[in-house]
């Protein structure tokens, strides 16, 4: 039993099931991020934890208490909304203490809690202002203050940073992470931004079409994605997934992929257990940063394969240069050092770190290697 258990939970609107048997157990102090494209059911799941949406079947438990049918205010949760949802007619101070007031906390205690939270978030000078007179970042802080002051068991965040500009978003991201490390609270956080998911979480649930596609640590999700959807959704630029055929030479399985001119490159896998796939087609997944020039190849890797291919486009991006080539009939992106000597139209010897390569079953799209 975890701290927050989502046990075989489904959600239907009429005849349409929008969440299918979601099963997640969150430990105390964990930072779980629900990530996925628009419409995959992230907010619905969060609202079910909050009690704002009914649970169609299954159970949600917090600290082993079944929450089905329990009113939101009785679950000891707090939520930060995408629009912040600050009460426009109340001052910042009143916004922060409204929940305490509704729970019958006496005024002196409310004031004390308010000042503690305000100093933690550095919004003391804003306490008498109305939300309309705050900047986006300040509103964000107030919304977090309103959640923190309740000292809840679980914090729920629904895309709290998506209304901020890019710079502020990065700053607030760091701040949320600091806050989590400092307070050690349990957090469920919804976002469609995979970088936010990777940087903030202790665990990620990648969702798509109402299913949890994979649940794991950021590293697990990144290195061993459960299927092609997770592989291409997480990471920027996305993982390259190209068709390849499996050949076995001297007991070593290889991915045979077509180069730009129709000739073939042979890229040996690090794992042996691919014999069953000999002669069959697979989908080969290679992260952009594992395709480099020979000098920049990972020295710790025991399996660097070489491949000569033609450069189609180069995109210098300051710290890196992105190089596009054609592999297996698809555009494939490599992430190179910015000083790599790459020119469009030239043939170039790429080094592929096959230790990090992933293989998928083309029919089921599920991972078969590693």
């Amino acid at each position: 039993m975890g701290f927050l258990d989502i046990d075989n939970t489904t959600k239907s609107y009429g005849a349409v099931e929008v969440l299918h048997k979601v099963d997640i157990s969150v430990e105390e102090g964990e930072f779980l991020v629900l990530v996925g494209p628009s419409g995959c059911g992230k907010s619905t799941l969060l609202n079910m934890i909050a009690g704002l949406e009914d649970i169609t079947s299954g159970e949600i438990r917090i600290k082993d208490q079944v929450m089905n049918g329990v009113h939101p205010s009785k679950r000891n949760i707090a939520m930060v909304f995408q629009s912040y949802a600050l009460y426009p007619n109340m001052t910042v101070g009143q916004n922060i203490t409204f929940g305490l007031e509704m729970h019958g906390v006496p005024k002196p205690e409310r004031e004390k809690a308010m000042h503690e939270v305000a100093s933690l978030l550095q919004i003391e000078q804003l306490l008498d202002r109305k939300p309309g007179a705050l900047s986006g970042g300040q509103r964000q802080r107030v919304a977090m203050g309103r959640a923190l002051v309740r000292n809840p068991d679980v914090f729920l965040f629904d895309e709290p940073l998506s209304n901020l500009d890019a710079k502020l978003r990065v700053d607030m991201r760091t701040e949320i992470k600091k806050l989590h490390q400092k307070l050690g609270t349990t957090i469920v956080y919804v976002t469609h931004d995979q970088i936010e998911a990777m940087t903030l979480s202790t665990r990620i649930a990648v969702m798509y079409g109402g299913y949890v596609q994979q649940l794991g640590t950021p590293q697990e999700i990144y290195d061993t994605p459960a299927n092609i959807f997770v592989a291409t959704f997480m990471g920027s630029p996305a993982m390259n997934v190209v068709p390849a055929t499996v050949a076995v030479e001297n007991g070593v399985p290889m991915a045979v992929v077509e180069l730009h001119d129709g000739s073939r490159a042979r890229l040996p896998f690090s794992q042996q257990n691919l014999a069953a796939w000999e002669g069959r087609e697979i989908m080969l997944g290679i992260r952009p940063e594992t395709i480099t020039d020979e000098d920049a190849a990972d020295r710790k890797s025991t399996n660097i394969a070489q491949m000569v291919n033609r450069i189609v486009v180069t995109e210098p991006a300051g710290s890196d240069t992105f190089v596009t080539m054609t592999l297996g009939g698809k555009d494939v992106i490599a992430r190179m050092r910015s000083d790599a000597d790459v020119r469009p139209g030239a043939d170039f010897t790429f080094a592929v770190n096959m230790e990090k390569a992933v293989a998928f079953d083309p029919a089921t799209e599920m991972r078969i290697l590693p």
Partner: protein, 294 residues
């Protein structure tokens, strides 16, 4: 060169059209103000100045006598009471009717947008339908209902009639206004532990100023100006101002005191004018907020 000259003509035609528009608007304005002018001017003249012709002339002798008479001593029906008691009758009817129908409209709007239930759109459609039922159709059934409830001929009977009739409009106003009120705020308040009425009083109502003004003005003018219900359902001691004014003007005994009639008509119109002057600028703002986004 080219662009300068075209700009020049554009400005000139702009001026000419604008002058024309202002002229036309001015004429319309004068035309609309004419009745008011006639009423005011004739309400402060002695009667012989009016009967001697020259309705448009300014008074030669200025007197407030007709106003005093209309207010406190003119013959209304059988008694020489003036309009005064009927004015208070109207107030006693209008204030509760406006207050109750506005609060109920706000509650309806709140439920219809934030506490959705099966069939709520149909219910709202039916309430909208109430806005289009002509008064005459309900006169007889309403009289029967008031009789059954023991409210016939009372001020509270009139209040009930006006509340029932007004609820369709007030619900429409508040529903459209609350439809664009962020639902996340309601959810935040629920998580904070606020109940149905706490959310209504603490979160929703404080943000409802503009639409409340619309609802109040609309209801106030309609109920104050209503004649048909007043004439049909009021008893002798609950008749509103409009009915009394009619009795004043229609009374067949003696000479027709036009100056008193004019003063009485202005007295009857004064409260609605006042409401518009005090709250008028919120009216347009509220209408925009409610309808454009709704």
């Amino acid at each position: 060169m080219m662009s300068v000259s075209t700009q020049d003509t554009a400005i000139r035609t702009g001026r000419v059209t604008r002058a024309l528009i202002y002229l036309v608007l001015l004429l319309f304005g004068l035309f609309y103000l004419l009745p008011l002018y006639v009423m005011v001017v004739n309400s402060v003249k002695p009667l012989d100045e009016i009967t001697g012709g020259g309705m448009m002339n300014l008074p030669r002798v200025f007197t407030l006598e007709p106003w005093a008479k209309a207010w406190s001593s003119a013959q209304i029906g059988v008694d020489p009471t003036g309009l005064q008691p009927y004015f208070w009758n109207s107030i006693k009817m209008v204030v509760p009717a406006v207050a109750i129908s506005t609060v109920l409209g706000a509650l309806n709007g709140y439920v219809l947008t934030k506490w959705r239930f099966r069939g709520d759109t149909i219910l709202f459609g039916l309430m909208l339908f109430a806005c289009f039922i002509p008064f005459q159709i309900v006169l007889i059934p309403m009289a029967r209902m008031l009789g059954l409830m023991g409210l016939a001929g009372t001020t509270w009977g009139l209040v009930l009639v006006h509340v029932v009739y007004g609820i369709g409009f007030t619900t429409l106003y508040f529903r459209n206004y609350y439809a664009v009120f962020p639902t996340e705020l309601i959810r935040a308040a629920q998580i904070d532990g606020a109940g149905f009425f706490q959310i209504f009083w603490r979160i929703l109502l404080p943000s409802s100023g503009p639409i409340a003004v619309v609802s109040i003005i609309w209801q106030f003018t309609n109920i104050w100006n209503d004649f048909l219900f007043g004439a049909s359902f009021a008893g002798a001691d609950s008749q509103p101002m409009t009915v009394a004014l009619n009795n004043l003007v229609q009374s067949s005994t003696g000479v027709k005191e036009y100056n008193v009639h004019f003063a009485g008509a202005i007295l009857a119109a004064l409260p609605t004018l006042l409401v518009y002057i005090v709250a008028g600028r919120y009216f347009v703002r509220g209408l925009m907020a409610g309808s454009v986004k709704g």
